[in-house]
Structure formats: structure tokens, C-alpha cells
């Protein structure tokens, strides 16, 4: 496991407890102290600075302690599962962590790690790699880090909820559009009647309505996508501020934009055609109230 420990030494390991009383800001001493990195949130919460010497303990009682020097600050890896947790974390070299947190009675304590992260040359081979590792060393619990797209992944469920809300919102918008189009068609009653009396066929009038509806729906959908793209920064900034994270909450991707347009345009066209259908089918003299 020695090589495994070396691999893991470069990994992010967090220590949960750094109490205010344990952190002091002594002047840099002569002794070469082990270095740690501190999360941005911890630095701000405890008023620490780069170069400060702090005492860390692996025990909730704060005993025993070891001195470390803060070498730098890092932004924790955004993790949606820890959205509401305060990211009060430090990163230590693995031997320092083991010395701090290991069981002194256990002779294997300095050669024990919780997990080993493996970066594959070809990430698509993760499932095959997991099968091979499990087959060779049955006592190891290997699993791909990428979450599956099924109900065991909470973000798949959350995505499904947001999609349901989006569908309901678009359907409500379609009713709104239908009401507007009914009013517009009502105002054009006499125009359509006159056109029909002039000899313009129903099909021609309907084509004109269809063209107008398509233009309106496409313009509306594009405006919606542009508005979402323009305001996504605001929403991200708002939620990043609220949760103190660098997680991205809103991203208007090409796929999302296409899906929105594909849903909104047919609904918009349908609303326009439906609103005008009765007028196009009516007797021209009735439309002119004669």
C-alpha cells in the first residue's frame, strides 16, 4: 500500500475541526513547519492569512495538536451534494494527516488510506476498469466517480423536477399566447373578411396566418433563449453568493436552447393557427357583420 499512499498524498483531504481557539497567528518561526493549504471559506471564517502558523488536531477535544504553516489558499471542488455545508477545510500532505489522525497503536496506521483516486487514460473505460479491479482484488470496493444517469443520482431526479416545471411554464405561456392571438384575430375580423371578398382563398389566408405565427413563435423563442443567456450570470452570481460556492447553477447550453426552441415554436404556431382558424373558416359577410 506504500505506493497507494504516495498516490493519495496529492489528494485533497479535509480535516473537519479547526476551532478558533486552536488557530493562532504567531510570527514565522525558525523551525521548518509542515505546510497546509486552507480553503477560502475557512480563511475568511477564521480570519487567517497565508504564512500564519496554526495548530491542528485530529481529535474533537483538541489534543494532541501539531503546528502547521498556511502555504496558500484554495477553492474547494464544487460539490452539489455539499451545497449547504460550510466548506471549512484544509489540505495536508498524506504523511502529515496520518501522523495527526492515525491510530498510534496500529502498526499499519501510517500505511492506511481511506480511498485511492485513479485517473484513467481513457475515461470511457471506467466500467471495465472497475470490473477488472474487483475481479483481481475482491476485497476492494471500486466504483466509477461519474454518477450514473438513474434514480440513484439525486441530480437526475432534480433535473426531472425542473423539466416538469419547465413544461408547465411553457404550457401556461401557450395559453397566454393563445389569449393574445384570439384578441389579435378578433381585431382582424374585418380585414380577413375583406380579403376573402376580394377573392383571396382560405388556404392563402391560412398560409399568411401560419407565416406570421411562425415568425412570432421563432422570434419569441429566440428572445427567451437570449434573455436566459443574458441573465444566467446574474442568477449564478446570486446563488454563488447565497451558498458561498463556485458551483454553476444555471447554464444555457446549446442542447437546452434547442430543446426550448423545439418546445416553444410548435406551441406558438399552434396557438396562432388555433386562434385564427374560426375566422378563416367563417363566412366573409359575417366577418364584415353584413
Amino acid at each position: 500500500m506504500k505506493s497507494a499512499a504516495l498516490v493519495a498524498a496529492s489528494l485533497a483531504l479535509s480535516l473537519l475541526v479547526v476551532t478558533e481557539g486552536l488557530a493562532n497567528r504567531t510570527a514565522p518561526g525558525d523551525e521548518p513547519l509542515p505546510e497546509i493549504l486552507v480553503s477560502r471559506q475557512l480563511l475568511a471564517a477564521r480570519g487567517l492569512h497565508t504564512g500564519d502558523v496554526v495548530l491542528l488536531s485530529g481529535d474533537p477535544d483538541g489534543k494532541p495538536t501539531r503546528r502547521f504553516r498556511i502555504a496558500g489558499v484554495y477553492e474547494p471542488m464544487p460539490d452539489p451534494r455539499r451545497l449547504t455545508s460550510e466548506r471549512l477545510e484544509v489540505r495536508l500532505h498524506l504523511p502529515d494527516l496520518l501522523a495527526l489522525n492515525g491510530d498510534t497503536a496500529d502498526p499499519l496506521a501510517d500505511d492506511t488510506v481511506t480511498s485511492i483516486n485513479v485517473k484513467l487514460t481513457r475515461p470511457d473505460d471506467a466500467a471495465a476498469f472497475v470490473r477488472e479491479v474487483t475481479g483481481r482484488v475482491p476485497i476492494l470496493n471500486a466504483r466509477p466517480s461519474r454518477a450514473g444517469a438513474d434514480d440513484r443520482n439525486p441530480f437526475v431526479v432534480l433535473g426531472r423536477f425542473h423539466l416538469a416545471i419547465a413544461i408547465l411554464t411553457v404550457m401556461t405561456s401557450a395559453v397566454f399566447l393563445l389569449a393574445l392571438m384570439v384578441m389579435l384575430a378578433d381585431e382582424r375580423r374585418e380585414t380577413i373578411g375583406t380579403l376573402r371578398l376580394m377573392g383571396i382563398t382560405r388556404t392563402r389566408v391560412l398560409k399568411q396566418v401560419l407565416a406570421e405565427g411562425t415568425m412570432l413563435a421563432v422570434a419569441g423563442a429566440l428572445f427567451g433563449v437570449l434573455l436566459a443567456a443574458a441573465t444566467q450570470g446574474f442568477f449564478n452570481a446570486l446563488f454563488q453568493w447565497r451558498y458561498d460556492t463556485s458551483l454553476v447553477f444555471v447554464r444555457v447550453s446549446a442542447s437546452v436552447a434547442w430543446r426550448s426552441v423545439a418546445l416553444a415554436v410548435p406551441l406558438g404556431i399552434a396557438a396562432v393557427v388555433l386562434a385564427s382558424w374560426a375566422l378563416v373558416r367563417s363566412d366573409p359577410l359575417r366577418l364584415l357583420r353584413r
Binding site: 474533537p60 431526479v157 401556461t172 384578441m183
Partner: protein, 398 residues
């Protein structure tokens, strides 16, 4: 003719438009009503679950509920200290680990619950009897209905359990247990397989230190109440952290629930604005088309206030009928949305995200009432500023 009747006739004159307006308000209102149900649904549901368990105080080793896995190392001493308090009726040490059925092939892992010696009911018995207060030989367990079905087990069935208390396979010997009964567990998820026994069984399966517990479930004396019990526990044992159900709910509201509350607030505002905008557009177009009619009514003696009342009633009718239809529509939609969110992994089976309460209906009515007034503001302004003579002249000329 009264203003309401005139408003009704105005709407009936353009039925399709009025129906679409009401439908639009109903759709937007239903979504808003759902968001009102979501805004407190999880809290109400969690509170219900906490209160039905019969324990109103929880004692942990750490301050943060999220870190409640830090065990109480001297649980037995804490239990003894708490049981002496006059404000406390019952104390039950509680611990959760994982286990598996060793004598069956392809069994998923089980949730292993360990409780201290108590006669208090931590779960609801469905069949058989509860665990005996004293450890028996072989050890007794209570299992949930799902596990009983999967194992085809009944009271008296013998199982062989092996602890799975870490990622590594257990080297401890398996333990033979006898099923005493089948029970419903309050916080279990839809797919959870649960087996519960006394703490010594869990200690044998997981090699945990005797006397450790994740949490102490405390029932306060009815005459003292949970707040007095929490205060007494804090005085007696300042080294542990006691939380009443209200404290748990408050923390949950601050941390775990904030995302849904914000989604609910944002969508409520958007849907309310949406509904108000729809009614504003409908009323504005309606007023613009009836400017001549309104001017004529004013000319024959209808007061400005009366003309305004007509517009306001039209708005109230559109929003009122749409808003009333929104409640059953919203309830139907909330069943669907609740089913989506309840498929979150690990969510307790009895937990709901959308919960009906009278407060949501009153809030819905108040918000829609405000929206009706807001939607009528611009058309009202048009009516108030209407020049009677100039409008009539324009009507005649056109």
C-alpha cells in the same frame, strides 16, 4: 345595473377571450399554489415524522446535526444522567450501521438499527411482538415489511446476519438471530431493508465499542415539555448537544431546505407576475375596445368611480374564477411533482415535499387578490383619464 353584473356581461360578450384569460390564470395559479405547498411542505412533513415517533428531544455528540455520526462514546453514563432528570420521561440510545444476510445469495445490504433496552416504541409493530427488554439467545430482531417479503420471513424465522460496517468485508463471525416481529420504521426509504435489534447485537456484528450510540432519543415529561427537557439536559451534561423537534426543524430550514424554499419563492413570484400580466393585457385590450362605450356611459351620468368599479370587477372575475380553478388543478399537479421529488434516493417513504395546509389557500387567495388589483391598475388609469367629449367625437367620426 350593478357593476358586477355589467362586468359579467362584458366578459360574456367575448367568451373565448374570457375563458382563455381564466384558463391562463388557472394554469399560472396552479403552479403558484404548488410552489406555496412546496414552500413549507417538507418542513411540515419532517415535523410530522418527528412528532409521530413519540420522542421530542434528540441528544448528539456534536453541535452540527449533519455530523451526527460522531458517536456518543459514553452513552450509558449519559443515559443514566438523563433518566434522573424530572423533565425526562424516556431515553433510548440509538445507532445505525449496515449488515447483510449471510445465509442468502444476492441479498442487498440491510440497514442495521441498534436500540438500548427500553419498552418505548421506536417503530410500529405490524406482526409478532417487539424486542424483549433484555438481550435473548439467540438475539432477537424486528424486520421491516419489505425485508420480510423478500426473505419470506415470519415471526420465529431464523436469520444469519453479518456486519457490513465499513467498506471492507467484515472478518467478524456471523450471528444467528430470530425474527420476533415485523414493524414499520418511521424514517425508512422506499427501497430500504431494515433489521433492528438491541445494541449488544450491533456491537457483536460491527465490533463497535460497548456503550456507543449515534443519538439518544428522549421523550420529555408531558407536564415539562421539550424546551424544559432540553434546558435540563444542557445543565446536567454540558458536553452533549440536545435539540428539541423545533430546533431540528429550524436547522433543517436553514440548511437542508433552503434550496426548495428559494425555488418556490422564485417560481411563485414569476407565476404571479405572469398571471397579473395576462389579466392586465386582457383588461387593457377590453377597455381600449370599449372606450366609446365607457365614454357614453359616463356621458349619461355614470360616475368615474362606477366605471372604475366595472373594470375592477372584470379583473376580479377573471382572477377569481381562474384562481378557484387553480386550487384543484394545483393539487392534482402537486401529486405528480411530489412523486418526482420523492424518487430522490434515500428519502423516507412517509416524507412529502408538497403538503396541503389551509395557510397555503389563504396565501393563494391573498396573492391573487393583490394580482387582480395590480392587473387592473393600468386599465383603471385609462378609464380615469378618459376624455369623454373627445372620445365620443372620435367614435362618431370613425
Amino acid at each position: 345595473m350593478r357593476a358586477l353584473a355589467l362586468a359579467y356581461r362584458s366578459l360574456m360578450h367575448r367568451r373565448a377571450r374570457a375563458a382563455l384569460g381564466m384558463l391562463g390564470v388557472a394554469a399560472a395559479g396552479a403552479l403558484m399554489f404548488d410552489m406555496l405547498l412546496l414552500s413549507r411542505g417538507l418542513l411540515i412533513s419532517v415535523r410530522g415524522l418527528l412528532e409521530t415517533s413519540g420522542f421530542d428531544v434528540r441528544v448528539l455528540a456534536s453541535e452540527g446535526l449533519a455530523q451526527s455520526r460522531a458517536p456518543l462514546t459514553d452513552a450509558a453514563a449519559v443515559v443514566a444522567a438523563l433518566e434522573d432528570l424530572p423533565e425526562v420521561a424516556t431515553v433510548v440510545p440509538f445507532r445505525i450501521e449496515r449488515a447483510e444476510v449471510a445465509d442468502r445469495e444476492r441479498m442487498p445490504s440491510l440497514t442495521l438499527v441498534g436500540v438500548g433496552p427500553t419498552e418505548a416504541r421506536v417503530w410500529t409493530m405490524l406482526d409478532g411482538r417487539d424486542l424483549a427488554a433484555d438481550p435473548a439467545d439467540p438475539a432477537e430482531v424486528v424486520i421491516n415489511r419489505r425485508l420480510a417479503t423478500k426473505l419470506e420471513a415470519v415471526s420465529g424465522t431464523t436469520l444469519v446476519l453479518r456486519g457490513r460496517c465499513s467498506d471492507e468485508p467484515s472478518v467478524l463471525p456471523p450471528v444467528t438471530v430470530r425474527v420476533a416481529g415485523i414493524a414499520d420504521f418511521p424514517f425508512e426509504s422506499t427501497s430500504q431493508l431494515t433489521v433492528a435489534g438491541r445494541l449488544p447485537l450491533l456491537e457483536r456484528l460491527c465490533d463497535t465499542r460497548p456503550g456507543e450510540a449515534d443519538v439518544l432519543l428522549v421523550a420529555s415529561q408531558p407536564e415539562a415539555g421539550p424546551d424544559a427537557a432540553v434546558a435540563a439536559i444542557r445543565r446536567a451534561r454540558p458536553d452533549v448537544f440536545a435539540f428539541s423537534n423545533d430546533d431540528v426543524i429550524e436547522r433543517f430550514e436553514q440548511v437542508g431546505f433552503s434550496y426548495f424554499r428559494q425555488v418556490s419563492t422564485a417560481l411563485s413570484v414569476v407565476t404571479l407576475a405572469f398571471g397579473a400580466l395576462l389579466v392586465t393585457v386582457l383588461l387593457t385590450v377590453s377597455v381600449n375596445q370599449r372606450l366609446g362605450e365607457i365614454a357614453a356611459l359616463r356621458a349619461i351620468g355614470f360616475s368615474r368611480r362606477r366605471a372604475m368599479a366595472d373594470v375592477l370587477w372584470e379583473s376580479a372575475l377573471l382572477v377569481g374564477v381562474g384562481g378557484a380553478a387553480a386550487i384543484p388543478l394545483g393539487l392534482a399537479l402537486s401529486t405528480w411533482l411530489d412523486a418526482i421529488l420523492r424518487s430522490f434516493p434515500g428519502v423516507p417513504e412517509a416524507l412529502h415535499f408538497f403538503v396541503f395546509e389551509a395557510r397555503a389557500v389563504w396565501l393563494h387567495v391573498a396573492l391573487l387578490g393583490g394580482a387582480a388589483v395590480m392587473a387592473a391598475a393600468y386599465p383603471l388609469w385609462l378609464v380615469v383619464r378618459l376624455p369623454i367629449a373627445a372620445t365620443l367625437r372620435r367614435e362618431i367620426v370613425s
